[in-house]
């Protein structure tokens, strides 16, 4: 059984993760994004419908992504793509997330050299 990362921990990180994927892949559709996240995280992170679509639609409303509709296998597929503004924003968001991860790592690493009480 793979250990999944809890939704609570993921909450704020999903948006930058989705933006990073879009930045690297030009354009993607919903299912593709969930599959990519699951594969890259080796099954530890699974994006549910309920987490993914609010984010994608919010990004669209904020002008960070645009959509294209295409007919694939007898149904309409909606592709998401970063706008120039979105590309800039995604770099900011990814840096922020990296900084957060680094800080978390520092916090979680046991560091006996720093005494809490020196007097």
């Amino acid at each position: 059984m793979k250990n999944k990362i809890s939704a609570e921990l993921l909450k704020g990180s999903l948006k930058p993760i989705v933006m990073k994927l879009l930045k690297e892949n030009t354009r993607m559709y919903g299912y593709e994004i969930t599959q990519r996240v699951e594969k890259l995280s080796q099954g530890k992170i699974s994006l549910t419908y309920g987490a993914l679509y609010p984010i994608l639609h919010k990004l669209e409303a904020d002008g960070i992504v645009i959509t294209e509709q295409e007919n694939v296998n007898n149904r309409t597929r909606v592709y998401y793509q970063l706008t120039p503004k979105g590309t800039k924003k995604s770099i900011e968001k990814i840096n922020e997330l990296e900084e957060f991860v680094k800080t978390l790592a520092i916090l979680l690493k046991p560091n006996p050299s720093v005494g809490l009480c020196t007097t």
Binding site: Y29, G30, Y31, T34, T48, Y49, G50, Y53, P54, I55, L56, H57, K58, E60, A61, T67, Q69, V72, N73, N74, R75, T76, R77, V78
Partner: protein, 406 residues
């Protein structure tokens, strides 16, 4: 690689429709996603039935609807907060206005303050928030032409609101604000609005008739304020003066009833006030009975610089009464500098020299057509208000002076 057949896709589509998924392109998003999931399971060896059951199980009961709700909520979160704020501001602003009117009607103190705060809440709080809300909901750019119409409308509304507030509070400049708001509405707002409506082509008949109706209504208000007796701003002016007079009367009653004033000295003073009041009230009644004639007299006066005999005598008499009253007031005010200043300010009957009119007599000042046909009525009312103000201030000082020191 298995792909769902059109029939199988339509089964999924039916389910989405049953769940009323219709927000933006969420239907297409979910249809494709569910189909992909089912295909994925089928490719791993499941039957269509098993695959779709597993997919729906993952989504959960009501899942599709909840996804739509979550999406709408997340996208419109700012808008929802904004709407709540708008509601609060609207309720607070209008209740302050209503209470302000109520207080004013009951002649309780603080009415003007409530009115002022209510206008402030609406004009600085509610309307700007509403403007931004409209922009967000209609997804208009800050510099788009559609949004410009709303901005101009808002500015016109803001300026006319300020005009009403200024005129109620007797601050200078109200008239310029009124004219500015009219110019904004007629020269900018309505032409822009018509242009946008005709160009957009949505619900043309309804929109055009609504806009025309409001344009006509505006025009009616503006024209009527020049030619008719229903000028809103003038009514406000008269109402406010009457209210102030009532306020002083009540306070004077309270002072007299307190028994702290030596009645003997005051009696003559009060009689003079009553004489002035009955004369002014007489004129006001005359004015209401015979508006046209009196207005003609006003015009004559402006043209020939002289009243007809009847009115001339009347004004000379009023001037005499006022001068008499003024003398009494000055003697009662003693050496109180502030009171002396108030008296000479409010009760002056001397001629004044105005740059654009030359020397102007006291009588003539009553006939300035500042407020149209009602000028004389309003100016007389203002004089009465000033007299009452002086009267009250003097009695108040008498009251303090005659209080035995402890």
């Amino acid at each position: 690689m298995y792909h769902l057949s059109p029939d199988e896709i339509s089964l999924v589509s039916k389910r989405l429709k049953a769940d009323e998924i219709n927000y933006s392109h969420l239907f297409d998003d979910l249809l494709d996603h569910v189909c992909c999931d089912i295909e994925g399971y089928i490719n791993r060896g499941m039957s269509y039935q098993e695959a779709s059951e597993k997919t729906y199980k993952q989504i959960g009961l009501n899942g599709l609807k909840e996804i739509q709700e979550a999406t709408i909520f997340y996208v419109k979160l700012n808008l929802i907060v904004m709407k709540k704020l708008m509601n609060v501001l609207a309720v607070v602003g209008t209740s302050l206005l209503v209470f302000g009117f109520f207080f004013k009607a009951m002649h309780w103190p603080g009415g003007s303050m409530l009115f002022f705060l209510g206008s402030l809440t609406l004009f600085l709080g509610f309307f700007p928030t509403a403007l931004l809300g409209i922009r967000k909901e209609l997804k208009l750019g800050f510099f788009s032409k559609e949004f410009a119409v709303y901005v101009v409308g808002f500015i016109a509304l803001f300026v006319s609101g300020a005009a009403i507030l200024f005129s109620m509070m007797h601050w200078p400049g109200a008239r310029y604000l009124i004219v500015t708001s009219w110019v904004l509405l007629i020269v900018f707002f309505f032409p822009m609005l018509f242009y946008r409506i005709i160009k957009s082509g949505k619900n043309k008949i309804v929109n055009v008739s609504l806009a025309l109706f409001s344009f006509a209504f505006m025009g009616f208000l503006i024209v009527s304020s020049y030619n008719n007796n229903t000028n809103v701003y003038k009514l406000v002016e008269v109402y406010d003066d009457n209210e102030t007079i009532e306020f002083y009367k009540r306070n004077i009653d309270v002072l007299e009833e307190s028994g702290l004033i030596r009645q003997k000295e005051i009696t003559a003073f009060t009689n003079s006030l009553n004489a002035i009041e009955s004369m002014i009230e007489g004129y006001k009644k005359l004015y209401l009975d015979d508006k046209e004639n009196l207005f003609q007299a006003t015009i004559d006066y402006m043209h020939y610089g002289k009243l007809n005999n009847e009115h001339d005598n009347g004004f000379q008499q009023l001037k005499g009464l006022l001068n008499n009253y003024k003398m009494q007031a000055e003697s009662l005010a003693h050496k109180n500098v502030e009171l002396q200043k108030l008296i000479s300010d409010k009760l002056s009957t001397s001629d004044k020299n105005y740059p654009h009119l030359g020397p102007t007599s006291w009588e003539r000042r009553f006939f300035w057509i500042k407020f149209g046909k009602e000028s004389l009525y309003i100016n007389l009312n203002k004089l009465l208000k000033d007299v009452y103000m002086v009267h009250y201030e003097i009695l108040r000082v008498q009251d303090v002076k005659d209080t035995p020191e402890l």
